[in-house]
Structure formats: C-alpha cells, structure tokens
Symmetry: C2
Subunit: 527 residues, 2 copies
Amino acid sequence: MRVVCCCTAFLLLILIPKACEGGNILVYPSEGSHWINMEILLKALHSRGHNITILRSSKSWYIKDNSSYYSAFTVPVENTLDQTFITRIVAEIIEFERGALPLISFLHMSVGMFGTFIDAHKGVGAVVTAMMDDSELMRKMKDSKFDLLLADPCWGGAIILAKYLNLPLVYNVRWLIAAESHFSIAPSPLSYIPITGAGNTDKMTFLQRVTNMLLHIITQIQNDLLVRLVYQKLTDKYLGPGHDFNELMIAADIWLMRVDFVFEYPRPTMPNVVYIGGFQCKPAKPLPQHLEDFVQSSGDHGFILMSLGTFVTELPSDITNEIAAAFAKLPQKVIWKYKGNRPANLGNNTLLVDWMPQNDLLGHPKIKLFVAHGGTNGVQEAIYHGVPVVGIPVFFDQHDNLLRLKERGGGKILTLGTVDKDYNFLKAIEEVLSDPSYRANMQRLSRLHRDKPVKPLDNALFWIEFVMRHKGAAHLKAQSYRMPWYSYHSVDVVLFLAGAMLLVLLTTFYLIRCIYTGMCKRKVKHD
Amino acid sequence: MRVVCCCTAFLLLILIPKACEGGNILVYPSEGSHWINMEILLKALHSRGHNITILRSSKSWYIKDNSSYYSAFTVPVENTLDQTFITRIVAEIIEFERGALPLISFLHMSVGMFGTFIDAHKGVGAVVTAMMDDSELMRKMKDSKFDLLLADPCWGGAIILAKYLNLPLVYNVRWLIAAESHFSIAPSPLSYIPITGAGNTDKMTFLQRVTNMLLHIITQIQNDLLVRLVYQKLTDKYLGPGHDFNELMIAADIWLMRVDFVFEYPRPTMPNVVYIGGFQCKPAKPLPQHLEDFVQSSGDHGFILMSLGTFVTELPSDITNEIAAAFAKLPQKVIWKYKGNRPANLGNNTLLVDWMPQNDLLGHPKIKLFVAHGGTNGVQEAIYHGVPVVGIPVFFDQHDNLLRLKERGGGKILTLGTVDKDYNFLKAIEEVLSDPSYRANMQRLSRLHRDKPVKPLDNALFWIEFVMRHKGAAHLKAQSYRMPWYSYHSVDVVLFLAGAMLLVLLTTFYLIRCIYTGMCKRKVKHD
C-alpha cells in the first residue's frame, strides 16, 4: 500500500483558544504511581500558565507540601495506612501461588485484603472529615475561586468536595472507587468486557462468561454494601440529604481515561470520556553517562530492564536469588530497580538501582526486553516504545494489563510464586529474546498507539481548558446518571408492555370463548 | 472566568504521517443531500493526493459520470425510482397534518411510504446485481487494487462489495439501512435515547419511554423482516453461504458519523465511531455581487434565508401564498430557495432563487433567521454559524433534528400542513426575531461546536488515511458483532446461573426437609 511508504511529516495546524491569564485549578490527587502520572499533567498545565493548588494530607506518602509548580493545602491528620501492609500482602500472594496456602486460607487472605481496602477508604473518609470540618481551610478554598477540580477518583473525597464547592469536575482516572472506571459510566456488556481480576479477554468461552458475571455481581455487592456506604455517609453529612453519592460520582464533566484502545479491548464508551493512555510517554532523552556507558557495554546483545513498580520494593530472597541467577546466565546487560538486600549471586552483568529514568531506558536503541509487574504506566510505556515484556504481576489490575500484551503476542506472563521453579524465569526471558515475533508485535502496537490525530497529553490539556472555558461540559453528559436503575434498564416499560399484552391476549381469549359458547348454545337451540 | 477572556490563538502542531503517493480510494456514495456532503469529503481527499473512483448507476439523479477530481465506474441499469414520488408523499403528509386524512388513510399512507422505501432498497439491489454480474466491471475493480472502500451505507450495496473485494470499509454515515446508525453499533438504552420519529428528547416521561420502545420494536421488525432480507439474499448469492449481512454491516472499520454532541443527545458510542458533524461547514466566503447588494439593502433589519432542502422543490400554492404573504409583512429581506411557481403575492423584499451559496449566506453578518426543513446538513450549518431557526419539517429525521434545536432554545418548529393557519408562520418568525434568547442560544451552541481539538473534516481525513496506513482498524472493533444476540445479552449465562441457583435452593430445601423429617421420626420413636 502506497500510503505508508513515506514518512514525510505533515503539519496539521489546529487552533485552540489559549488561556491568556491561565485558569485556577484545584487538584485532589491520589498516591503512588497515580501521583507520579498526575504530576506530569500538572507540570504541563503549569507550563501553560495555569495556577495549580494541591490538596494533600499531612501524612501523604509521596506528595510534598510545596513545589515550584504548585502550592498546597495540607489537611492535618493523625494516622495513615502503614505502607508495610503491601509487603505482607505480597508475601501472602507468593505463599498462595506456591500452593502453600490452602483455598480456605486464600479466601481468608482475600477477605483480609478487602478489609485493608475498606480501611483505606475509611482512612480517606477521615481525611475528608478533617478537611470539611476545617472551616478556615474551607473558607480559603472558597475564596480561591477555583475554575475546576481535577481529581484522581480512585478514592471518593474529591467527588463530595466538587459538589460542595460547586466546581466543574474533571477526572484523571483509571479506577473509580473500587472498579475499573468504564463500568461506572459506559454500558458494559459482560459478554465481551472482562471484569478486572477474572483473567478473561474479550473473547470468552461460555464458562468464562459465567465467571465474568459472577465476579461482576460480587464486586458490585462489595462496592454497594461497603465502599460506597463510607462516602454516602460523608455525602449526607456535608451536602445534606437528597444527594446520591453514586450520581455525583458519575456526573463528572470529563473523564480523562488513562488507557487507549491499543491497550484496552474495544468497548462502549461515552462522549465525555477522553482517552489519554500513554500521555506520560515521550521520546527518550539521553541517559546519564554511567547508565549510557553500562548499556553501551552490552554490545549487540543489548540490555534488559526490570522493575516491579512503585510499591513492591523487596521480595523473598529465594525469588530474588533465582532472578539474579537467571540474569547472570544471559549475555545481555541488566538494569534492575530493586531496593531490597543485594542477592548473593548477582552477576557482573546486572546493575541494581534505586531509581532509573524508565522512559529514557525503554526508548534506548539497545533495549531488548522489559521485565515488569504490569502496572498501567509501565505497560503503556512498553507499548509506546515497542519493547516486549516478560510480566510478573503482583496484584490489582496487573495480571489483566499483562494479559492484554500477551494476547497480542507482545509478551509472556509468569507467576511471582513460581518464578523460581524449573527455570521458568530464564526460559521465559530466553523465549521472548529469541523469537522476533514478540518485538514485531510490540512495534506494531507502538505504531498504532502513536498514530493519533492529537497526542494524548495535548488532548488532556485541551479538555481541561475546555471545561474551564465553558464552565463544564454538560452537553456531553448523558441523562443516564439521573435515572433510577429500573428506568434506565426499561424494567418498568417492559413490565407495562408485558402486562398490556397479557391483558389483550386474555380479553381476546375471553371474547373468542364467549362467541364460541354463544354459537354452540345457538347451535344446540337450533338442533 | 479568566480562561476565556482572550482569543490569542495557540498553534498546536500535530504530526500526521502524510501519504506521499496518495491512496487509491473506491467510493460508493448515495444520492441527494448525502452526495452533496460526500462530495466535500472527496474534494478534500483529492486535494491530499488520493486517487478517487466513484461507483454510480447510469440512472443516477445527482452523481455525474466524470469530474476533475474523480473517475467513475458506471453500472448500467434500466430503471430507477421516479423522483416525483417525493412530491406525492409531501402532498399526502400535508393532507394528513391538516386533518383531512382520517387515521386509516394515514396508516395506508405510512404503509405506502414504507412500500416505496422497500422498493428503493430493491432498486439498489438491482444495481448491486447488475454490478456484481458485470464480470468486466468486477475485473476492473479488482485490478484497480483499491486501498479502501468509502461508503454512505444508507443503502446496503457497499457492504457486500467491500467483503467481495476484501477491502477495509469506512462509512460516511448518518443512516444505516433503515435506522439511525448508532443503533446498529453502540448499546442504545431506550430509556434515554429517543428513536427517530418518536418526537422524544433524551428526557422522557414514562409514556414517552413506552412509545419509544414500541417504535423501536416496530422498526426492528420492519428492518429484520423486510429490508435486510433484500441484502441477505444478495449476500448469499455473491459471497456464498455462511455470511451474515448484519455482521458484515457492523464490521466496518471506521464510522465517520455526521453528527456531533452539540447537535445529538449524548449517548453511548464505540471506539471506531468518529464524529464529523458539521465537517462541511466553513467560514463564509464573500457573496456574489447581486446577493451582497440584496442583503446589504436590508439595512439594520438584516435578512432571512429559507430553504426546504434538496428534495422538496415545490409546495401547494395555498402554503406558498401564505409564506409569501408573511414574508411580505416583514421589514427584513428574504432569500427563498424555491423552484415551484412564483407565488402571486410575493413581496418586493423577497428574492426567489434556484440555488444559493447557503453556507456563505448563513455566515453573513446580516443574517437574522434561517427557515429550514431540518435536514442534518442545514441544522449543523445553522449551529456552526449560530443562526436561529424556524423549522418546517417534512419527513425522515427532520422533525427530530429540529427538536434538538428547539429544546436547546435555538428555534421553533411548525407543521407544514398548518403553516398557513392563524398566521402561525408569521408569528413564529416574529417571535424568533424579537426574542434575543434564540440567537444567544444558537451562538452558545456554535461556540461549543467550534471548540474541538481537531476540526471535523481534518478528523475524517485522518481516520480515512489511518485505515489505509494500517489496512483497517481491527483494534478498534469490539467483539460484539461476532456474537449471537443471546450471548451478547448474556441470556444464556443468566439462565444458567438462575438454573444453578434454583438447583442449590431445591437441594437445600430437600436436605432441610430430610433432616427435619428424620428428626421428627426420631422424636416420634423416642416418644
């Protein structure tokens, strides 16, 4: 096809009305990798002349109370969730995956994890209470005359605050309270839209569709009975009666969704959902000299990058030893982001680092493979740079994220608990390195991902400014969120029509019987 | 809000890989206003270096067999639908609206209209047959090695041809076979998505929701039993058994949808639907001198534009006389596109024209009002230029299109059959001219419509070229279209789960009864 043959770039000029003074944006972020990627958006907004104010708790794990590009309102709180719970959960998952935990213990662990999750929501509730009860802080917020609340709604505080301050609301979102956010706003037929955690793709067998529906029902019940209650109580307390938290949650003006349809399975969406997946990705910058020297020393073999994300900083030593031993057998160089104890058998080809410029390394010409935990950020970056992946998912959506790469031929998935068995780790790496189809598939995904009329970050900026220009985006919000479920699903109409049909049928039947009986009687008379 | 205060334009540079040689595009257009707007897209594609080949029938109403920007394959046919049927239908509608037709006659008329519609589909079927049976033509098409089939799928021929030639398929679409095209591809909850023809908005009462569902069921039955059969027969004949026409229809790569969400009510959509509503609109060019002189002579009163579209060329004389008389009473000047007999009482302020540069007139600073029939093109142009509308819908989607303006305060709707009663026409015009809210609302819609990250025409061009670059857009097509309806709607899963639940309940009940009976027996024994 001749259309692809040449890469002369063509500049399409698009006029976006520019803010001359800049807007005034209040931001309600979340922690961990969510904050890392919110920061990128905030820096871009700041560089376009907008004034940024962050809301943070005094016990925030990652969010500093000042920066060159934002000011902060700090909510004083006494307690926060202890980060070490993550290490405990990881240990339990590994035990389960090794078959060391019987099912009943797994269920116990799952309930425990869900309990931690509820505790986290209650912790957020405590921050919201501290914030809303702080009349001085609330007065300051009102006086600031913000134009917009930009929030990561994986916790629910921002939703109540936006209504309280009467501000247009824009989400930078992947998770909404306890579910993948599409499920809250767009019709989601369970027949081809996999529930996160079910390990299904968009092509399901009958039994997979059954598990998909069961998991959806369980998730819904959990959320409705436990998680949302936390926020409905806060809604009642601070907004007064008559406000439904769910309705407020869905009523956000614009949803900047951190996926795209190269990564996510195609599915129904809504007009106010804007896909910004991979907005954090950009061409690689030159590496620091010591890293550049290290990767150049790999020669033609190239190098491998390994990271298990922001949260998982250490692993049991038998696993790290196995990983180190496998790496030591490879001709490639390896850069491994790891904060735990140095494995005894670490090879000379492997460099342990506390931090690394992940995007620049993934975009380096010598990169051969990314060993990743499957967080959304990392997976989108692997797609952007076209690097094949060996995935070791830990929890949350990580297995499902990696499944999307695996199914498209871009990588393999291992189980954390069995990484050290039967040379699983080494075999997976060698297979992905030696079979060129993995790289070819990731390169194809990369071409598709990059071929968009507007870059994801520009799209995000456009829609945030759109909401400020027009004081919301009401014309893009469907009426669905205002309807009770039985009206939305037309249950009342179907029952009414079924009743009407039954009435017509019964009447017809009765009339026919009357006529028939009458005729018979007349016949008898005549006889 | 400070963000809007300044209009300094900001140039966002977007890199689109440019075709250096241009693609080879086969086009299967439709007639009337559909062709007028397809032509705009084709001229833009041609100016970007693509080679355009049109498919037309030898009896085409509007599509010429040659042009400076396309070549044509002409399919020789003997018969075509007689255009005068439109005049007949218009006359019947007017009679009905005047109450002169009793309900039974109206039903008769409706059945007749539907019959005409089926005849039209059969006519298209005859063209498809003539085309597919013409081995010389089919050989030429195959030899042309097209990269893409671009089609207006309001008739079904292109869908079969695309599969036959194995070409990626892009729709320039508003109607798909017999229904508003969203209903074919995106989940469409009938609780807030009005069926065209029901006269509902997205905010419906219970009874409106009942009529909405009834009308949907009737439309579905009509289409499934009558219209689609025409094409399924052709599919079986030319593609062989095992191909479902419906499935082929939904499997198009990209749907360039000729609406946007300033015009259309917000509703679920799909990743491969691209909204290009208003792509034909552009800033006004200077008018021809005689028109400029005419509108300038209106002074501060400005001028009114009237057009009832491409198809309705004449009206009964009592209606045209009333319209002429109303116009004659106004201080404004009037430009009226009309091909019928000149009304006897036409005022000096009114200019009858055969054709007019509608976009340039709608964008003229002196325009005050647009009297329109409510075709999608005209309504989108009124929105683009922010001109209030008095609508006189005739048929098809025109009433529903105008309803979208009326509900947003941008215009009023009259009934063609009662335009001449009680000065309805004059009163409506005077109200819209004197109340500034109509103009303010249309200007607001115009601002929303124009504020997009990519202009609709550029978006259309981008996605057509995207499909050529990547030989389709499979990654944007949901799995839904491959599923039988009972799987898509999870009917099988729900029945299975309900059955399983029943089994569990019955077993539990049976066990409890056994235990209870056992205990009772033992008790009796003990006693």
